[in-house]
Amino acid sequence: MRSHNIIDDRFKQHYYRVHVMGDAPLHTDIQPKEFWSAKMTECFVNSLDVYPGYWRRLVANCPFHGHDFANNKFSDTDKGRASRLIFLGIIKFYPVTHLDKQSDEESSVSFPIVSTVKGINYTLVPPSVLLITSNPVIKKFNDLQQTARFLAGLNMGQTRLNELSTTMGIIATIPEPIKQIRGIEAKVKRKQKPAAITPQIAAMAQKLEDRQFFLLEQQPESKPLRKDQEDLPVEEYTPKPYTLGPHEEPGYVPPSAVTDSQALKAENEAEKGKESDEKRKQNDEEEEKFVNNTSFKTQHEAAEDVSRKINSKSVSENREYGGMIYQNEDGTYSYTDPIKGSVDGVNPGGPSAVPKGKKPVAYYHTHGGDDPAYDNENFSKVYDPIDKEWYGDIPYADSNKIDGYLATPKGKFKYYSYKNNQVELIGDL
């Protein structure tokens, strides 16, 4: 199902992203659809496929409700007021071309992905994808040379190159601008000696440079960020000498993965048949695996580090993530891997989730996306008259006698002290 702010015409030929003045800015160069007359606007509005009450809701959410403009060419209905706001440019429609001629039932459009050795994935997307992507991170290049060098450095096979070229529509256009492509290739080669910069790669670089396509960046969650190395293409990466891990040293005894009580619990659950094997496998995959052997001087620093790493993913997926902060024997602090929760809750694991011998001091969690139905920016607390109990973030901290951390959709980082029963804004992530 499409997002509620993506609508299509009645014949599902064209899709549009609706943007109301005051909404978060869109990260795209695409120009909104233009309307030159009231008649044209009304015809366009009539052609759209929307659910009953859509125009009323759209106008109600708009900072200007369309009542106060002295333009009587539009009818005094919700649709008429919406048409007026569209005509005035207060509500805009951006064409989402990559969805055109696709019905909701069809599988969503997919775009080719390329990877670097660092594990960063780049998805090659047209500009209209940026209209429907939350907080897109785009790979930026200074000039054509850098773009071509980057693409060449990815060491893609010919099949993958052809796949990307086809997506960019380059195969059909090669005969026409072949001289121009050769020129780009020569220009790039004059200044450096990269891996093979073929005409195909040069043409792809030109498309990226012309902003006809973008590389959407996705940081790996499975590895900590390395501050000492840039995001280098394959041939520029120099691996460090291999050293033995603790599990490979003589005399190493692997720790038991689960305690007896946990194993018994898992066995009981299997007997009850509450979850199918597939569902359990899916849940396992949902847990974020960080290589987390870093320790921090304070619990604030540990919580901030993991919250910064996971919050953007939480927002884009509209899913909560959470885990535990614990104190090591040497007085430093670390955190457990983030666990993926649901839209409105997450089980961070509780004190029993921290490694043996460590002291649980706090939990951390994110709040997912900015859903208007929820109180997104605050620690939660609500009294349940059915069970006569308090529920939410604050009661969870109080009952476990640990502090709490919250990363909000707007990037605020908050702290709850169970001892003082106070919430403190630490800052922005």
């Binding site: 809701r57 909560e320 961070p348 939410g392 973030d393």
Partner: protein, 95 residues
């Protein structure tokens, strides 16, 4: 009913029995429904147990989302409706 990670579907089922409710509370429920429609609420009401109560000034609708684990947040909600004006005083869900 949507598939949610922590939702206690068994508990939700146990409340689906013959029941009697005041028509007046259904009238109050209608106030919430209109509000939810107007604001485009994304709440899936199938996942909730609903409790009606009232004090001197307000009707209170409590939305409880039964869960199988102890979690932070939880998705519970409270909607307070003014008795005289039947207008929404506060309506929020927690996460």
């Amino acid at each position: 009913m949507s598939d949610e990670k922590y939702l206690d579907y068994e508990k939700l089922k146990t409340f689906r029995t013959d029941t009697t409710i005041s028509g007046h509370y259904l009238k109050i429920w209608n106030v919430y429904l209109q509000y939810a429609e107007k604001t485009g609420s994304s709440i899936d009401i199938d996942n909730y147990l609903i409790n009606f109560s009232e004090n001197n000034d307000e009707y209170v609708i409590f939305f409880k989302k039964p869960v199988t684990q102890k979690i932070v947040g939880g998705g519970h909600g409270v909607c307070r409706i003014n008795k005289k004006t039947l207008s929404i005083v506060e309506c929020k869900f927690i996460k």
